[in-house]
């Protein structure tokens, strides 16, 4: 498989399959791992980086998880493809396009590993819905196998040794992407998010969006990596998420009982704009798609959720350009985006 094959494929995490997938868009766990005694990527000389990559590459290529996978050498990547992989949640925006760095992606984009990003290895498992526990089981098994072959830097007191001390210990970040329009519209979100922060949880808006977190999607992840076990972090996150989902469901119920007409109006107007626009900015489409998503979940409108999931990603700037097959100016992008949305909705799986 090649990188361009991904454009028309749907990543597993977008398939809307996992438990609670109505509200929880995706679950992700990543582990930071390093080789013993070798300089971390930011400090390593070029020849050392190449040596590290050479040591890791055959191990990953041999691993069954990457049997039908894709290996991307970062130095060969153009900036559009880089942005595309960022939108796909497969690499970080900071990952440099230089020698000695490569990304390997397993089938369905569930497992991926960045080699020589901030740490020698950044292992990721990304799934749809609330499946942190399954993500953990999978990543733990892969981690053990890789450790067997490579041998990771570890200290009995401080755990896995990472380039940045904020990742020390488990080296684990467990995060969940949730869609919280109910809490956002009722403004309850301003109470909920600070409370989560107090519990050592880090909250971010999705797709880098606004004070209203355009798209109402939030990324929620564990803060500390030291002093808590992996299973404990996963269990803690899952129970918090269950609670959060409860709050969101209550907020939606309240919203429907108090402002049904206004919510219906919002949903149908969003649908109208998406069906008819000639220009659509990325921000606007994220926000309108979120409203449509809410409409589907509240049974106001009858559309396939898969369609929304797909559009959420396909309308991002790099995806639009990959679909058209060339680099576009922002205006051209907005026109192409509007057309793509119109066409998909028309072809529509609206029942």
């Amino acid at each position: 498989m090649e990188l361009d094959d991904l454009v028309t494929k749907t990543s597993n995490w977008l398939k809307n399959k996992g438990p609670k997938s109505k509200l929880v868009l995706s679950s992700r766990i990543r582990l930071a791992r390093n080789l013993e005694n070798l300089s971390f990527p930011h400090w390593a000389k070029k020849k050392d980086l190449l040596k590290i990559a050479q040591r890791i590459r055959p191990v990953l290529k041999k691993d069954s998880h990457f049997k039908n996978g894709i290996l991307v050498e970062m130095e060969n990547l153009n900036s559009l493809d880089r942005d595309f992989l960022v939108e796909r949640h497969l690499i970080s925006p900071e990952y440099e396009r230089k020698e000695g760095r490569f990304l390997i992606i397993g089938e369905g984009e569930v497992i991926s590993i960045m080699v020589n990003e901030e740490d020698h290895l950044r292992i990721q498992v990304l799934e749809s819905g609330l499946q942190l526990r399954d993500c953990w089981l999978l990543i733990n098994q892969l981690d053990e196998a890789l450790n067997e072959a490579i041998g990771f830097a570890f200290d009995a007191d401080w755990g896995y040794l990472t380039a940045c001390p904020t990742n020390l210990g488990t080296g684990m970040r467990a995060s969940v992407m949730v869609h919280l329009p109910g809490l956002a519209i009722t403004r309850e979100i301003h109470k909920v998010l600070p409370a989560l922060t107090k519990l050592g949880i880090v909250v971010r808006g999705f797709y880098g969006e606004g004070s209203e977190a355009k798209g109402n999607a939030f990324q929620i992840s564990n803060g500390a990596t030291l002093g808590k076990g992996e299973e404990e972090i996963v269990a803690h996150m899952e129970s918090l998420m269950t609670q959060l989902i409860g709050y969101e469901e209550t907020a939606r119920k309240n919203l429907l009982s108090r402002e049904k007409n206004s919510v219906e109006n919002k949903v149908w107007r969003a649908y109208g704009i998406l069906q008819n626009s000639r220009f659509l900015t990325s921000q606007e489409s994220i926000s309108l798609l979120s409203t449509l998503r809410l409409g589907i979940e509240l049974s106001i409108i009858n559309l396939e959720m898969d369609l929304i999931n797909e559009l959420d990603v396909l309308t991002l700037p790099a995806h639009i350009q990959k679909i058209i097959g060339k680099s576009l100016s922002p205006q051209e992008r907005d026109r192409a985006r509007a057309k793509l949305v119109r066409d998909r909705l028309k072809r529509g799986k609206n029942v």
């Binding site: 400090w43 009995a156 909250v203 030291l226």
Partner: protein, 162 residues
Amino acid sequence: MLCDECGKREATFHYTEIINGVTTELHLCELCAKKRGFTLPAAFSLPDLLGGLVEPEQISPLETELICKNCGFTYSNFKNIGLLGCSQCYSSFHKMLEPLLKKIHGTSKHVGKFPGRRKKEKREKSSDVQLLREKLKDAVAREEFETAAKLRDKIKEIEKAK
């Protein structure tokens, strides 16, 4: 809306970051966004913040000269960028890092898994009463009383066995 930076071109790059309630907004045209070197931005840098956590008065001039024998990275390098040079740096700068880790994580003891063959060490470690006491103290401080009660019972059990 015009670009915050040049004020000439239309801003097409809108970035708002809310991290724990603090909002930063930026509206740039594509050119200025590129000039600033980001497709997706990082408005603040974690390493900088980390470097700031290292209190200057704690470090005598002599200690800032500390250098990791394995990779040649210095402690002042770490203060500047918030990243270490290699896994050995953790033992080279052990004394200075210990209090910093407590500030970041609230503790400086790994309780997660041990890799592969070292799993045995973990079992020995988990019966360490000293460690359990520390965990108990943490649990009480965090008002996690259920966990605290479990830890207390475990300590009692081990002490009885002895």
